[in-house]
Each structure stands twice: as structure tokens, then as C-alpha cells.
Amino acid sequence: MKNMNVKAFLMLLPSLSVFGAFMFWPLARTFYISFFEWNMVSPVKKFVGLGNYAALLGSPLVHRVLGNTAAYALILLAVNFVVPYVLAFVLSQVVKRGRALYKGAFFLPSVISLVVGSMIYTWILNPISGPVAIAAQRLGLSAPIWSKTEGAVIVVLSLVTSWKIFGYNFIVILGGVSGVSSEVIEAARVDNVPLWRIFTDIVLPMSSATGVYLFVMTVVQGMQFLFTPIRVLTMGGPNYASSNLVYHSYHEMFVVYRTGTGSALAVITLLGFAFLLFLEFRFVEGRVYYES
């Protein structure tokens, strides 16, 4: 049996060393750096304890970024969690034809680079010559210069990111919803339960393992995906109105070289995600999960 342990270890060695060097070790290092004031190049790091955290939590700018992050999360969840959930139910119960086709087609934009997406959307939404602006003009409306408008900028960047996330979320949730035993649903139908109640009373609870997983992943991935359009299109502007936690930590680290506060922001992001993960485990407790 010892022999077996050695074999298992050897097979895990490649992944363990990559994870060790580029995941766990940096994690610890970021944690460490977050207690210092350091501009990345200076040979001296100044220990400030929890000073970076205290400064961040008292900063109105960070409050703003947190607010943006929450707004992004809400929009992303509405578009990429609620909508696909309902559509998945519709496709598994109401209209059954064309399911494979919709699945394949909705997923397609997910394979396209976010830089490409950002680029195309800037042109579509170009306030002077873009098709949206022209269409609005014909209707007698004027399109706002979204990249200079607080609020609108969050909506547009969420939209660009959603283009990437929607299809993946849709097929995952469709898998969860289709996994609900059709006999249970038929039993409810025989009892004349209306469709929307079948959705809320049967399908939602029975697909909740997938649902909760997807909820968490939408936020976790979404915040990271947003980085690209923010970096490419707005650089967090105007006046930080489009910056989220992930982008702002990058901004601190690599733009203004305050690696301590940047790292502290990264740690805060991680803690936020860890909290979501914890919630996930609480919700799907007792279900088959990573380790069954």
C-alpha cells in the first residue's frame, strides 16, 4: 500500500508543484504584502500592520468601488442567472423543440475573447456613428455618451461581460433543470399545478445544487471577466464609476504602485468569494458535491 501512496503522490506532483508555485505561494505572499507599504521596486517594505485595511475601509473611493461591485453583481446575476434559469425551465418543460440548437447557439459567444467583445460593443454603442445611436436618432431620441455617464457605464460593461457568460451559464443550468425527474413534474401536472408553481416549488429546489453553484460562479467569474472590458474600455472611469474590486486592486498594484493596498484589496476580494463559497456549502449541504 505504501507503494500505492508513492504512485499517487508522483501523479499529483506536477499539478501540486504548479499550484504550489503559482497559486498557493502567491496567495500567501499577497497576504504578506498586504501588511506593508511598498512600491514594488523599492528594496524596503514598510510594515504597517492592518494599516492598509484600515485605510481602505475608511476610503470613500473604496466605498464607491464596493458599491460598483455590488451593482455589477446584481446586473450580472439578473442577466446571467435569473434569465437563463427561467429559459432553461421553459426549454425543458414548455417548448421542447430546438433545445440542442439553442444550447449550441447560445454558447457560441462564450468562446469569443472579451477583448473582441469589448471592441465590437464600443462600435455598436458608439454615440455618433454606432447603429444604436443611429436607431435612437431615427426614433427622435439621443443616445448618451455611455462611457462618460456614471451608471450607464456599469450597465454597458455588464452587458459586454454577459455576452461572454450567458451561454455557459445557460447550458449548465439547463443541465441542472433537465436533471429534475420528469416523473415528479408529470405527477404535479396531473394534479393540475400551474407551470410557474412547478418552477418555484419543484424545479428550483430540486436543481438548487446546480443553481447555488452557478450563482456563486456568476459572481466569482463575472468580477474577473469584467476586468478585461474595464481595462480595455474605461480604465475604471469616469472618476472610478466603473471600477470593481478586481480592477481596483490591479489599479493600485500596477498603475499607482501601491502594492500594499492593492494586495489588501485582493485579500478582501478573496474573503468575499470565500464567504460566497461558504454560503454555497451551507446551501447544498447533504447533497452530492465535490466529494461524495
Binding site: 443611429i134 445544487a209 453553484y213 474577473q224 481595462r231 466529494e291
Partner: protein, 275 residues
């Protein structure tokens, strides 16, 4: 017409409208990449160019070293996806076939890396790669991407569906663990391995964050970085060229997806069920 049929048609209409909205950006990029700049401005809504031209593409090729950029992107994507698949297969097999002390905890820890955002690791990784002297190199971009928890997860899920007795039958033939992996396990988990590989490849092809931190010199640029040059505010006049670059960048992921669509979709469909 029955009420149910009417509702069905209504929902199809909703789904198709959504589909059109999602495909519009692709069509938009494609059509404008074949228009001359003046045509593009005068008739931006036109989805089929009335006077199609290849001038944007020839401009892209004359201005950018497209082959070099593509080769860079391809190199990173190939290295990353091949290594990710190999390390994932080995790790997934270790977690499926062997029971060793701490297996559950270790698996949990490795899978949890899915939830670690990149901003937590990017600064120290930047520092490590720099201290290795690999800053602004393709190897430096690829190095931290040699392993992926998603792959371990997807491939292990698939390995777990192999009946135990099949592995036992091979074990009784005096086959080594590694031999069983190549003879039995890998052939039986091919769909999961293949779709993981494709997804890794596409993701790496599209990767922006890490290359933008790493790569400074133009001869090392990947497609995403080259593309970015056309987005800046002064890129305004280059609209149609930008669309041509976009189309070029989409081409490979698009083609791969169309070829392996069935595998990819079904792998993700079943992956979500178990988280």
C-alpha cells in the same frame, strides 16, 4: 390554435429574439470588416455589404505581423492546454484510482483554486516570473498556466463513471497503474479530455489579463494585445480595420467550437449538475 401552442410560439419568439441579439455583434463585426471605411460610416446598419472589399484585411496584414502574432498566441495556447490536460489527467487519476491519507482534503483544496481570483496571485506571480528573468517572454506567460482545477474536476467526474470492475479486470492482467491509465482510462474519458483541452486552448487563445502584464515588446504580442491597439480612443478612424482584426481573432475559437460543439456542450451540461 390551442393556448399551449400559442404559448410555445411566444416563447420561441422570445428565444429567437435573444439569439438574434446575441449574434448581432458577430454579424456586425463580420459585415463591417468587408466594407470600405466610407461605406461603413454611411451605412453602418447594412448587414450585407453592398460593395464588399478585402482592403481592411490587406491593411491588417501589411500593418501587423499577423503570422508572428498568431504564432505567439498559438504557442502559448498549445503549451498551456497540453500541460493542463496532462497534469489534470494525472491528478484526476490519482484521485480516482488511489486512496491515500488526506485525499479528500487535498482534492478539496485543489478544486477550491477555482474560486481564487487572479488579482490575488498576479502580483507575486509577476514578481516571480520577473525574478526568473522571464518577463516579456512567451514562456513567462505560459508558465503559471500549466495546471487547472477545472480540468482535474471535469476529468475526474468522467473517470468516476468507469465501472470499478473494468479497472479491476485490467489490474488482474498484471497491468501497471500507468498502463491502465493509457490503455483503459484515457480512451474511456476521451470526450471529457478532449473538451477540456479545447476549452483550455480557447481560453488561453483569448487570454488578456496575464499577457498584458507580462508582454511589453510588440514582437511578443498575442492576438488579444494586438487587438487592443485598435481600441484606444484614437483608433476611431480605423473602425473597419478593427473589425477585421476582431474577425481574425474570432476565427480559431469559432472553428474549434463548431467542430467540437457536441463534446463541449455535453461536458458542461453534465459538469454543472455536480458543481
Amino acid at each position: 390554435m390551442s393556448r399551449r401552442a400559442a404559448i410555445g410560439i411566444l416563447w420561441h419568439a422570445v428565444l429567437i429574439a435573444l439569439l438574434l441579439a446575441m449574434f448581432y455583434p458577430i454579424a456586425f463585426a463580420l459585415s463591417n470588416s468587408f466594407k470600405s471605411i466610407s461605406d461603413a460610416y454611411s451605412s453602418v446598419m447594412e448587414l450585407i455589404p453592398s460593395r464588399p472589399t478585402l482592403e481592411n484585411y490587406s491593411r491588417v496584414f501589411s500593418r501587423l505581423d499577423v503570422w508572428r502574432i498568431t504564432a505567439n498566441t498559438l504557442f502559448i495556447a498549445l503549451v498551456a492546454s497540453v500541460f493542463k490536460v496532462l497534469t489534470s489527467i494525472l491528478a484526476a487519476y490519482a484521485f480516482t484510482e488511489f486512496s491515500f491519507p488526506g485525499r479528500g482534503v487535498l482534492y478539496f483544496v485543489m478544486i477550491s483554486t477555482i474560486f481564487i481570483p487572479f488579482n490575488v496571485t498576479m502580483l507575486p506571480n509577476y514578481l516571480s516570473i520577473t525574478s526568473l528573468g522571464l518577463n516579456d517572454t512567451l514562456v513567462g506567460v505560459a508558465l503559471p498556466q500549466l495546471c487547472d482545477a477545472t480540468g482535474i474536476f471535469l476529468i475526474r467526474q468522467s473517470m468516476r463513471t468507469i465501472p470499478r470492475s473494468i479497472l479491476e479486470a485490467a489490474r488482474m492482467e498484471n497491468r501497471s497503474s500507468l498502463g491502465m491509465l493509457t490503455d483503459i482510462v484515457v480512451p474511456l474519458t476521451r470526450p471529457a479530455i478532449l473538451s477540456s483541452a479545447i476549452i483550455f486552448f480557447i481560453n488561453s487563445w483569448n487570454e488578456y489579463v496575464w499577457p498584458v502584464l507580462m508582454l511589453k515588446s510588440k514582437e511578443n504580442f498575442t492576438l488579444s494585445l494586438a487587438l487592443q491597439m485598435y481600441i484606444s480612443s484614437e483608433g476611431g478612424t480605423e473602425f473597419t480595420v478593427a473589425m477585421a482584426v476582431s474577425v481574425l481573432a474570432m476565427l480559431v475559437p469559432f472553428g474549434l467550437y463548431v467542430m467540437f460543439q457536441k463534446f463541449i456542450v455535453s461536458t458542461f451540461t453534465s459538469s454543472g449538475v455536480k458543481g
